[in-house]
């Protein structure tokens, strides 16, 4: 037996390793909270970062009023405004959600068009209005939680404003990676080092300050991503009318760690409930993780890994799961009943598979919840229940008395549920 750890990760002494991890990582089913560009920019400004001015408009006339102010701003070098849809999906530009306008009339028209859009299923309820920037050069800069090294990592490039992941594939040398120190964060020298590596030229001081500001933002709000694309050198008119260049955050994307939201109550308000599925909101109220899918077999499982496995086995048995649903650890009868309501809200569901491996969760509690839920059930859907682990014997007795269809193994449960769904469909 050994209590001594191996050297974790591949980071160099001091922690300012510039190489990307060999197998870096992101993704999975971690819960993250996305916020709108305008809200992200507010957080950046609160941390002292340079962001060009903007206003948020909910109506075309509000957009017009904002446009009048920015068109009349002597610093505005292009004499135009940009109007951007505020939706929580990528690809706004391609969907017609980002447009320029040269006059107040045009701004009002364009805002009306954008506010009428639905982008990837999400209605546009707000637009951001700001001066259209005269862009001299575009960079990319982000800070992200790198799971492989368990450190925060900056990713930067002098080739910003484009599909940066494509740059990473086509020209990997154009991307700079730098981890922060897990205890010290980012000392000034490390920020300068990053700025020179990316190549901000004469703007290196601003670049270093912005890098430190992004890290500060990340830590202040428990973000797991702060991404600026583009970070741009823009040209504006100075007070005497001569051109002035500065490095600014033109766009901003921030995602927050759901686990930390309770200590940032002001951020909970930034969560756009319109952009979230109503069943998702209902699920969160009962501490359930629910993702709707297209199939017809509703699944209720404890644990994310086991829930995914249950879906995989339903598919292997020839069925299609209607959802991913993790009731979490230690679920009591009321949480089980709420989970059942969520599943049954989906009219496509033709059979339900319940798979519980009791550890913290007690099988008899789940069985009671199922019996209660079935008593209240508005629509008769066949259900296959498999409960093993803690208090499985008590659960089996309850289920038998209530005449539930049960299964001993997960494979058997999947097969029975698929058969039940096909029987119901026929």
């Amino acid at each position: 037996m050994s209590g001594r750890p191996q050297e974790p990760g591949s980071h160099a002494p001091g922690g300012y390793d510039r190489s990307p991890s060999k197998y870096p990582s992101a993704g999975g089913l971690a819960r993250r909270v996305k916020i709108h560009e305008a809200d992200a920019k507010s957080l950046l400004v609160a941390q002292g970062l340079p962001v060009p001015p903007w206003e948020v408009a909910r109506t075309p006339s509000q957009a017009r009023a904002a446009a009048v102010r920015f068109l009349g701003d002597p610093a505005n070098a292009t004499g135009k405004v940009v109007i951007k849809a505020q939706v929580l999906v990528g690809g706004r530009g391609k969907a017609g959600g980002v447009k320029l306008a040269a006059t107040a009339d045009e701004a009002e028209d364009v805002a009306a068009q954008i506010l009428a859009l639905e982008i990837k299923g999400l209605p546009v309820r707000r637009v951001l209005v700001g001066p259209a920037a005269e862009i001299v050069k575009e960079y990319y800069l982000s800070v992200v939680l790198d799971r492989a090294t368990r450190r925060l990592m900056f990713i930067g490039s002098a080739e910003g404003g484009v599909e940066i992941e494509q740059v990473a594939v086509d020209n990997p040398d154009a991307i700079v990676y730098q981890h922060t120190d897990p205890l010290l964060g980012m000392p000034d020298f490390a920020a300068r080092d990053l700025a020179f590596s990316i190549g901000f030229g004469g703007h290196w001081k601003a670049g270093a300050a912005i890098a430190k500001g992004l890290l500060r933002t990340m830590l202040a709000y428990d973000a797991d991503l702060v991404e600026i694309n583009p970070l741009a050198v823009i040209r504006e008119h100075g007070a005497d009318g001569t051109p002035v260049e500065r490095l600014v955050c033109l766009d901003a994307k921030i995602t927050l760690d759901d686990s930390a939201l309770t200590r940032h109550p002001q951020l909970e308000e930034l969560r756009d409930l319109d952009a979230e599925d109503p069943t998702d909101i209902e699920a969160r109220r009962y501490d359930l993780t629910f993702i709707k899918l297209d199939g017809d077999i509703g699944c209720m499982v404890n644990g994310a890994g086991l829930a995914m496995t249950t879906m995989d086995l339903v598919k292997r048995a020839g069925g299609e799961p209607a959802n991913f649903l993790d009731i979490g650890g230690g679920a009591k009868a009321d949480r089980v009943a709420a989970a059942m309501r969520l599943i049954l809200e989906d009219p496509n569901v033709k059979a339900i598979l319940v798979n519980i491996f009791g550890g913290i969760t007690r099988g008899d509690e789940v069985a009671r919840g199922l019996i209660e839920a079935r008593a209240q059930q508005v629509r008769d859907v066949p259900m296959v229940v498999r409960i093993v682990g803690t208090n499985a014997a008590e659960a089996a007795e309850l289920l038998e008395a209530a005449q539930f269809v049960t299964a001993a193994s997960l494979d058997e449960a999947a097969a029975k549920a698929v058969a039940a769904a096909k029987g119901a469909a026929a």
Partner: protein, 294 residues
Amino acid sequence: MSILIGRDTRLVVQGITGREGEFHSRAMLEYGTPIVAGMTPGKGGQTALDGRVPVFDTVIEAVRQTGANTSCIFVPAGGAPDAVLEAADAGIATIFCITEGIPALDMVPVVEVVRRAGARLIGPNCPGATSPGRAKVGIIPGSIHREGRVGVVSRSGTLTYEAVQAMTDAGLGQSTCVGIGGDPVIGTQFLDVLQLFAADPETEALVLIGEIGGAAEEEAAAWAAEHMADVPKVAFIAGRTAPEGKRMGHAGAIISGGRGTAASKVTALEAAGFRVASSPTDLPALLREAGYRG
């Protein structure tokens, strides 16, 4: 032998007087785990578990009085990072953090401090570990195990139980089962556990239970290909049919670079000599196919 826990484990439970802490401490004690101390600030001098376990105000006091060398943490998320730091500071060698819901950024400096202290952290948000017949630390049901020589490592909770139950039902006992936890920032990764199993003379076969997301399975597979070539190895990856996970902006796409999918993991594991099951119940048969005779 076994890894992480064994006959020389002397356990202190941080948060032993809480609801979860007490419930699972009882189960650990019933399994035969030597719980030498409990720790709850303000309850020093009392006893827990019907007078069987002395409670201390601080971990360092528990270590001084009882020689505790392993800790299990059931402290709520707000205090759990501090509990890990306290254990590391007190010289605890192996720290299991069961707590879920800890903000990820809280764990970044904690993992580093634990590393510098020369200690090992398992978790957070993990079910713990069991060395069947010797000790169990955490919340894995003791009844699913059987003594043997298969090492099991997983980043899931209940899915681990499913896989272990399948092994036990097929008569394949385990040397140690370790749940490393599913959070973004964890103290011990797949690769670390594989290195421990490779060095354990009583572990003769390996079961790896992974999930989509991240690239820790790929990393572990590459290491196993080189260092565990002769060990019979099987794996299961959950999420083959899961919808595309939520990406972390462009940064996520850059750093994942195509890894993280079930297909990527299965390919990497198969290339490294793992037999990859399409159901946890197929694991024992595949392990036999891989030449395990235990």
